[in-house]
């Protein structure tokens, strides 16, 4: 185990909050050190390797009290520091150390913090560890964001989690597959167009449109017949899909979508949609 006394001394070299000398209990702002001074602390941690990083993680509290702002500031500074071009080895060590502390009975607030630092400094090597948290109600959002930032290796994690995802987690995963433009998910996304929850349907519709999936034209056209907010969202999905198809040279398919919207948005309140469709159709001729 890392020498916690020495680690505590390194943490203590992070600045006090403003006005700390006057009132230690006050919630306050932070004036950070110069990078040169901070780097001396970061380098000392990194020289001690994985054990030191894990030791620092052990000092992070559950976030319900103000005491651990210094160790969080230090760990975040490390996350940014190791992303510099010449620090690939340290980055690999750092992200592995963080990923190794996920799961188990470590407080969820701490796990969330670690995942957020992996959003900064992680790459595909930690995607599996982060992916295991996608269905967790407390850290699932953090995990999704981290994977989306990491990019490479993320889609597989979302696909794997989707069959068991419910409610908000399901919506997050459907949406993420659209953000990643994961073509391998097209079938699952089309299936989700029949979901019982409007948010899930809207997420799936948007994802299919963003993919530019030619096989989804009919299902999106049909979905655009919904009412209210879902109608607005599915109409947008249709327009986005048409744009993607047009950009890919599929003029006739794009035109089909535009014609449908032009012909069905007959109420004056949707004239703006009709006009958008007409503009699109002009480009698809």
């Amino acid at each position: 185990m890392a020498d916690t006394t020495n680690l505590a001394a390194l943490v203590a070299r992070m600045p006090d909050v403003d006005g700390a000398a006057e009132n230690k209990k006050r919630e306050a702002k932070l004036t950070g050190p110069k990078w040169g001074d901070a780097e001396k602390v970061f380098d000392q941690v990194l020289e001690r390797g994985r054990e030191a990083v894990v030791g620092l993680i052990g000092m992070v509290g559950d976030g319900q009290g103000p005491e651990d702002y210094k160790v969080r500031y230090l760990l975040h500074g490390l996350a940014v520091y190791v992303c510099r071009p010449e620090k690939e080895e340290q980055q690999a060590m750092f992200m592995e150390a963080l990923a190794s502390q996920l799961g188990g009975d470590r407080h969820k607030a701490v796990q969330g913090f670690l995942v957020r630092e992996l959003e900064v400094a992680g790459d595909k090597r930690v995607a599996p560890a982060v992916g295991k948290l996608l269905l967790d109600d407390e850290v699932g959002d953090d995990a999704a964001r981290a994977l989306l930032s990491i990019g490479e290796g993320a889609a597989e994690q979302f696909r794997r989690a989707l069959p068991n995802a419910k409610g908000r987690r399901r919506v997050a995963i459907l949406q993420a597959l659209g953000v990643l433009r994961d073509e391998a998910s097209a079938g699952a996304l089309r299936e989700a167009m029949g979901d019982g929850e409007a948010e899930a349907r809207c997420a799936a519709g948007w994802a299919l449109a963003t993919l530019g999936d030619r096989g989804s034209i009919d299902v999106l056209i049909k979905a655009s017949g919904a009412d209210g907010y879902e109608r607005i969202q599915m109409t947008k999905a249709c327009l986005v899909l048409a744009e993607r198809l047009l950009a890919g040279g599929n003029k006739s398919e794009a035109a089909r979508i535009y014609r449908h919207l032009r012909d069905t948005r007959t109420d004056k309140s949707e004239q703006y949609v009709r006009e958008a469709a007409e503009t699109g159709l002009a480009g698809a001729q």
Partner: protein, 415 residues
């Protein structure tokens, strides 16, 4: 998120709830909604249905700008702090219900910035024109999404800063603008330098807070929206939200759009961005915005913007502002510039709504200004120089820095 909060969200966004929409609460108003008469036609009374989303400190001012030179009837307002009094007829907590109303034509948005892009886009999707508070966005990719949405639906957008209108009304400034737009300036020596006025300390965040109970009238989940759902603390709401990366980017992002938008017009940069950004600042905090010393942004043609906070670090030495001058060009090129037509006068929001032509603070221009603040903050947060491709709007050769260009959103919110 706890079970009670989850149940509340489920009720809020249930299919039935969304599909019901907001029934016409405007039945008593004698107005002819714009959409009835279609594009390019002003209603006989030239009266518009208006709404305000985000009724805090800037709400009144933003709505006032929306209704300048237009006859606007205020039909609805929406705020996440209206939980105790929302009736979904005039008072809302969920902007989607408000936007579903057919009698609303114009929307003023004065929420914190992490909502600006999403609500603007949603308004365009619902057929509304928008006047949105600055900063336009929280990160760069949001701006591009707003540009695309307003183009897709041919709606009007104006960002809530107006310095460029005064700037563009002066003859000397028009000449500078033309010089820069001519493409004839090689190795531009102009430097815009500003020291102070960016409220760095004032609008930085707290780092050692203890979470507090959520006020009963506040829908905290909706407030956080696309940003992470953090434990509640009052400093994250109501003006001081500026001090948190989750909602804004400190004084630099907030005051930056005021300071730099006129400059962007002046130097003809409404359709491009810098290629290199460097900052001098301490390591950034993961959640709270903090101090910085200076930022330098350099364009491909040599033009530079230098911002010095005057609140941290040693003062910058040897930096002076410098205008571009006609005499920077050859005699032949000077003639060409003088023969160029003057740029079209910038349209106010009211003029844009009536003519259906872009407003002076349109999405592309506003996005390019906002990008200056966002790139500055990225350089501050990453502690290293960044190179930017203003065409692709991507940071080059630095994947981790590039993650801040397009930041993931919390579901169900997305661009």
């Amino acid at each position: 998120m706890g079970g009670k909060a989850m149940e509340q969200r489920r009720r809020m966004v249930s299919r039935r709830g969304l599909l019901k929409g907001a029934a016409g609460a405007a039945a008593g108003w004698m107005i002819v909604p714009r959409h009835v008469l279609g594009q390019g036609q002003a209603p006989p009374s030239e009266t518009f249905g208006g709404a305000l989303i985000g009724c805090g400190g800037r709400g009144g001012g933003t709505y006032g700008e929306l209704s300048k030179e237009l006859n606007v009837v205020r039909l609805a307002e929406c705020d996440v702090r209206f939980k105790d009094r929302a009736d979904n007829k005039k008072i809302y907590t969920d902007f989607r219900r408000l936007l579903d109303r057919k009698d609303i034509d114009l929307v003023a948005i004065a929420t914190p910035p992490h909502w600006h892009a999403l609500i603007s886009i949603a308004a365009a999707e619902a057929g509304k024109d928008v006047l949105c508070e600055k900063p336009m966005t929280r990160f760069i990719a949001e701006g591009r999404a707003v540009v695309e949405a307003f183009k897709r639906y041919n709606r009007i957008f104006q960002v809530g800063t107006f310095g460029r209108f005064g700037m563009s009304g002066k003859k000397d400034n028009v000449l500078i603008h033309k010089i820069m737009r001519s493409g004839l300036v090689k190795d531009c020596k102009a430097v815009y330098y500003q020291r102070g006025g960016l409220k760095v300390k004032e609008w930085s965040g707290l780092v050692n807070v203890t979470p507090q109970p959520i006020p009963r009238n506040l829908d905290w989940d909706m407030y956080c929206g696309p940003s992470p759902l953090r434990p509640y603390h009052p400093h994250r709401v109501g003006g001081t939200h500026r001090g948190y990366w989750d909602y804004e980017g400190g004084g630099l992002a907030d005051m930056g759009q005021h300071a730099l938008d006129p400059i962007n017009w002046l130097y003809g940069k409404d359709d491009t961005g810098p290629v290199e950004v460097e900052a001098y600042a301490p390591p950034a905090h993961p959640e709270a915005t903090g101090m910085w010393g200076w930022v330098k942004l350099r364009y491909a043609d040599g033009f530079q913007i230098v911002l010095e906070s005057g609140e941290w670090g040693e003062p910058l030495e040897g930096i002076k502002g410098r205008q571009v001058k006609l005499s920077d060009l050859s005699e032949e090129d000077q003639k060409k510039v003088l023969e160029m037509p003057d740029p079209e006068p910038l349209r106010t929001f009211a003029e844009a709504v009536k003519t259906r032509k872009p407003a002076g603070g349109n999405p592309e221009a506003a996005n390019r200004t906002a990008a200056l603040m966002h790139l500055s903050n990225i350089a501050i947060r990453m502690g290293r120089k960044i190179r930017f491709d203003p065409v692709k709007e991507q940071i080059l050769g630095d994947d981790e820095a590039n993650r801040l260009v397009n930041q993931p959103m919390r579901a169900p919110w997305h661009l």
